[in-house]
């Protein structure tokens, strides 16, 4: 089957500076493929180039070089947009239209008849949880989160096959985030392709088949989250209460690090090869109470910090050119670093 999204060496230079303009490379030869039906997470820290990529795909800006296809059609194919949905980052609409009028306007642009436009509008406002009593209100009176919901609704208006969401969770309260997660999973179950950007690893973990991590405009890693070694567990964090110090001293050889949180309450870091269950049962037998047990892994932030440093080193060593670090290269780098961590 043809890829739903194919990005090929996409590069974007912005011209910055007031008097003497010079190019600033916001995106550097990015290549990616997303298969139909995938939920694809596009991760990266602030300024990584996520929004730039999405704007390139929507032809809001034009690439310096490289190309891309959506649903097998080149960018700029107006007809293909009939099957695409797009939520911009921090969307903004028209102050003087109501949510209903806005969606009906867009629906008419998609070619829906008046009746169908009203029906689609009602369905989608229901779906994103904008109540009937707010629909007739002008958008300038909406809160940020409500505007975000309207933005999500308009991205789904045309029953799209491919949906691009630029930070869909931004501006939403915890309930809203949960709703959007559920919505994305529904879209996946309906067989649609979802491409969303985020800088929150937990969102990606909850939703994605695959992710790409960009940093400084370059692809830093790509694959299943569980396969990107940097994100695999590198130990356990065991939090226990009612622990007597002499018990802790006895177990010390098996514990990498212990941190006192409060009286008789400790966070214990166990190496990955240890057996947390055994240690736990020993602790419990000595009168301790379990508070929590979690795998320890890099956060996206740790990963970014390390990759950015690595990429800077590579640039200094003069590799230049193509820095695609997916696959083996990225994994090796990650592994080396993991060992580094272990020695700390």
């Amino acid at each position: 089957m043809a890829a739903a999204i194919r990005i090929d060496a996409l590069t974007k230079d912005y011209w910055v500076g007031f008097w003497r303009k010079r190019p600033y490379r916001a995106l550097d030869t990015l290549s990616l493929e997303v298969q139909p039906g995938e939920v694809f997470g596009f991760l990266g820290p602030n300024g990584a180039g996520k929004t730039t990529t999405l704007k390139l795909l929507m032809q809001l800006i034009f690439p310096t070089s490289g190309q891309a296809e959506i649903l097998g059609r080149p960018l700029g194919d107006v007809g293909a947009r009939q099957r695409i949905g797009y939520l911009p980052e921090n969307p903004s609409f028209y102050d003087y239209l109501t949510a209903e009028e806005l969606l009906q306007y867009y629906a008419r642009l998609f070619g829906y008849s008046g009746t169908d436009a009203r029906r689609r509008t009602a369905t989608l406002l229901d779906r994103v949880g904008i109540g009937a009593e707010r629909r007739g209100q002008q958008l300038r009176k909406y809160s940020k989160g409500m505007v975000q919901r309207v933005g999500i609704a308009q991205a789904l208006l045309n029953d799209p096959d491919v949906i691009f969401l630029d930070e869909p969770m931004s501006g939403l309260d915890p309930l809203g985030r949960r709703d959007v997660r559920a919505l994305i999973l529904e879209l996946r179950d309906e067989g649609r392709t979802v491409f969303f950007s985020s800088h929150i690893l937990a969102d990606a973990e909850a939703l994605c088949n695959r992710v790409a991590v960009v940093s400084g405009g370059r692809l830093a890693a790509e694959g299943r989250l569980s396969e990107i070694l940097a994100f695999q567990a590198r130990g356990w964090e065991l939090v226990v209460a009612d622990v007597r110090p002499e018990v802790l001293a006895r177990l010390a050889p098996q514990i990498r690090r212990s941190t006192g949180i409060a009286a008789h309450r400790y966070a214990l870091e166990l190496p990955i090869e240890s057996r947390p269950a055994a240690i736990l049962s020993e602790l419990v037998a000595a009168g301790a109470t379990l508070v929590s047990l979690n795998p320890l892994r890099d956060t996206l932030e740790d990963f970014f910090v390390r990759r950015v440093a690595e990429m800077r080193d590579e640039a200094r060593e003069g590799y230049g050119g193509n820095h695609r670090m997916s696959g083996a290269g990225a994994r090796e780098g990650a592994q080396k670093d993991d060992e580094g961590h272990a020695r700390d």
Partner: protein, 268 residues
């Protein structure tokens, strides 16, 4: 075509709800009312004052509305980024520009229509209350359909100004676009002076430059037949036809240029 008309309708809706054009029209109507009072004060209660002031009000307030909405509705869309979700819909950038322009012209037409009705209402009231011996001394009837000729030409002039505003707002900031449009409006009214530049200045390059400017700048004074209409002088349909054709050609050129610029630009 369908997409274009929906964009136009949306422009109209948005500008109707935005209250600034309202207040401008209201002000123009008040001015026409005031001109009636001024007419009362002058000896002979000349209807010309009202016609003069009324047509001038339509032209000036129409200009402000044209610049205000022409620039507001396009650059605001770019600046507030509401254009992002819009251009992700199955519409092309040329369709966007043409739809916006059509909507602006629609808005302008509504505003000019309101001002025209107000002017005719004031004139009708004056004609009705005026004593017959004064009325017979007028150059032209009070409620004179000839005035529509002047208003149609003002309207086409405003369409040109709107197209200029649209062109500037495709690539510059709102304030700069407003200043440039206003500058071009003024230059357009003194355009005929450029043609006769050689009678005032010796320097050959300066004359050539003036000639070039004469051909590029719009000749807006051609749209001004207020004096003729007010004084009951003839304005032929031939003249109106030629001027309309000139205006429409100029508008087409402006829209095409806007489309070319707009189709290549990045939205940041």
């Amino acid at each position: 075509m369908r997409a274009i008309s929906w964009i136009a309708v949306n422009v109209f809706k948005e500008s109707v709800r935005d209250r600034v054009p309202y207040s401008l029209v209201l002000f123009a109507v008040l001015l026409m009312g005031a001109s009636y009072l001024i007419g009362q004060l002058t000896a002979g209660q000349d209807v010309k004052i009202i016609k003069d002031l009324g047509l001038a009000a339509i032209a000036i307030f129409g200009l402000f509305i044209a610049i205000f909405i022409g620039i507001g509705l396009v650059s605001k869309e770019v600046e507030r980024r509401s254009i992002y979700p819009l251009l992700a819909k199955p519409i092309s950038r040329p369709q966007f520009i043409v739809g916006k322009y059509a909507g602006l012209v629609l808005t302008l037409a509504a505003n000019v229509a309101v001002m025209t009705l107000a002017l005719y209402a004031v004139l009708a009231y004056l004609t009705y209350t005026e004593s017959p011996e004064f009325r017979d001394a007028w150059d032209a009837p009070g409620v004179d359909p000839q005035m529509l000729k002047a208003i149609v030409l003002i309207f086409v002039e405003l369409m040109v100004v709107t197209a200029i505003a649209l062109l500037f707002s495709t690539f510059s900031t709102p304030i700069l676009a407003a200043a440039l449009t206003f500058g071009l409006y003024v230059a357009g009214h003194f355009n005929t002076d450029l043609r006769n530049f050689d009678q005032v200045v010796e320097s050959r390059p300066a004359v050539l430059l003036a000639r070039a400017a004469y051909h590029v700048l719009p000749d807006l004074s051609a749209f001004d037949v207020k004096t003729e209409v007010v004084h009951g002088l003839p304005v032929t349909f031939g003249y109106i036809g030629t001027t309309l054709a000139y205006g429409l050609a100029y508008i087409t050129a402006l829209i095409l240029t806007s489309v070319v610029i707009f189709s290549r630009r990045d939205f940041k």
